[in-house]
């Protein structure tokens, strides 16, 4: 479905990605983990056409999509939820949602979808006429996640959806992702909440210093002691014991 071949790229003069290669199969969930600053978000930007790629290739369904613009990526069924806050501050919640479907030709369908996601995240319905900037951190994140679900993407790139979400909503988001996968959507996700994320994923990918270090079944990674030690907060248990 999505394949990265030895991608190098970065910001300005600095090279951040030093050869990232992986393939993810269709209708699967792959979680990317790695230390802060490893280049996880940068990989997403590279895929979505937001990065200066020096070399390498990105293939979507076998088609070369290296250096395509975000709009072209959206046209090919890719959506992207970046890390951090990404709302249009002065527009209402509803209009922010609507922007999520702005590229769709069938606007009635988008409107119907909006109703559905508002059922899923009731807060959005309650606050539909408020400015996005006025929402709390987690509420804004809900808005963003909901916004990504309005089109019919075949690939969702979602960067740390759990930041700022309360535990029950994290579960809700994960459930939604699983449901989407079951419908045939491919999901590539970054999560620091890695244990929970890997537990629901098919595959896991470890990124470090801008390189793919490991790529395996999610359970395998979860059980790998080195991974646990280095990236899953291995000694949280030990800390708990005293």
């Amino acid at each position: 479905m999505l394949e990265l071949k030895n991608v190098h790229g970065g910001y300005g003069k600095v090279t951040i990605l030093n050869g990232v290669s992986f393939t993810i199969p269709k209708a699967s969930i792959t979680t990317v983990i790695g230390p802060n600053g490893a280049g996880k978000s940068t990989v997403f930007k590279a895929i979505f056409g937001l990065l200066n790629i020096h070399s390498g290739q990105i293939l979507l369904d076998g088609k070369d999509v290296t250096r395509q613009s975000p709009r072209q990526m959206i046209e090919q069924g890719v959506t992207y939820v970046p890390q951090g806050r990404n709302v249009v501050p002065q527009l209402s919640v509803y209009h922010n949602l609507e922007l999520g479907g702005i590229t769709a030709s069938d606007q009635d369908r988008v409107r119907a979808r909006i109703e559905t996601v508002m059922d899923q995240f009731p807060m959005l319905r309650e606050f539909r006429n408020r400015k996005a900037i006025e929402l709390s951190g987690g509420q804004q994140k809900q808005l963003e996640v909901a916004r990504a679900l309005l089109l019919d993407p075949k690939l969702i790139l979602i960067d740390e959806p759990s930041i700022g979400l309360s535990p029950n909503l994290v579960q809700e988001v994960f459930r939604t992702l699983i449901r989407l996968r079951d419908q045939g959507v491919t999901i590539l996700m970054v999560e620091q909440n890695a244990k929970a994320a890997l537990a629901m994923s098919d595959d896991g990918l470890v990124l470090e210093l801008g390189q793919t270090r490991m790529h395996d079944k999610a359970e395998t990674l979860l059980r790998d002691p080195r991974v646990g030690q280095l990236f899953l907060g291995g000694h949280i248990e030990t800390a708990q014991s005293h």
Partner: protein
Amino acid sequence: MSQFLQVMLSGLATGSIYALVAIGFTLVWQAAQTVNFAQGEFVMLPAFFVLAAMKLLGMPFWSALLLGLAISLLVLGLLFKKLIVEPILPHGGITLIIATMALGILLKESVKEFYSAEAQPFPSLFPARHLDFHGAVLSLQDIFNLVLCLAIVVSLTLFLNRTRTGRCMQATAQNPAVAEILGVNVKRMILYTFLINAGLAAIASFLITPVYLAKFSNGESLGLIAFIAAIVGGFNQIRGALVGGLLIGVLDNLTATYVTAEYRAALPLVLLIAVILVRPQGLLGTKEGRAV
């Protein structure tokens, strides 16, 4: 009494002109989050396009007007966006502001060098009919300006808030990065903004030049007053420009008539500073929401 009425009405009429130019400021702000300091020159220039078309091409007035509008859209809309806004906008507002200041000088000096340094008469779009209200005189043009201004404010507000394109333009201005990843055609939205702005500037130009006369330096004070009007009304609301413009027009005339002519430029400013300090977001402006 008739003096007071005259001053009020004239103030409103002038104010509507300020408002017309000020709308451009608020529009560019709402759709690109920047300030075009060449706005005054944008209003000065279209009249010269028309004059040039009449003088050099020998066109009749009305077709020259149309040609002037078209050239304005091309030069002040398309070219401005392509050559100046697009390359500089990513580097931040203040850089673009300085660039537009330089552009203002460029336009002004070009008109002076290539057309004329002297003021030129400009035909009026309206018959010179004057209406009498209890001893105060108002021209047909004044009334038209007021009505048009109102209509533009209403339709632009509706367009920006009620249409999807309008909201895409706002999204582009407020958070271009997000607009881009959602698939909004950011460049096109910016183009729309500047095309509308150019159109407005051209209309304002055709309306005011018969009275203000066509002169290369006309933009200086007009741009400044309109900028003030936009701020006072509230930069993030189109209708703020209307209120700000009318307020300044009236205050200026009242000051000059009843208080002081030497300080006529100052008193409105002082009043407005007071207003701004009480309502930092401008009269009709809305707060920008949470900061923490």
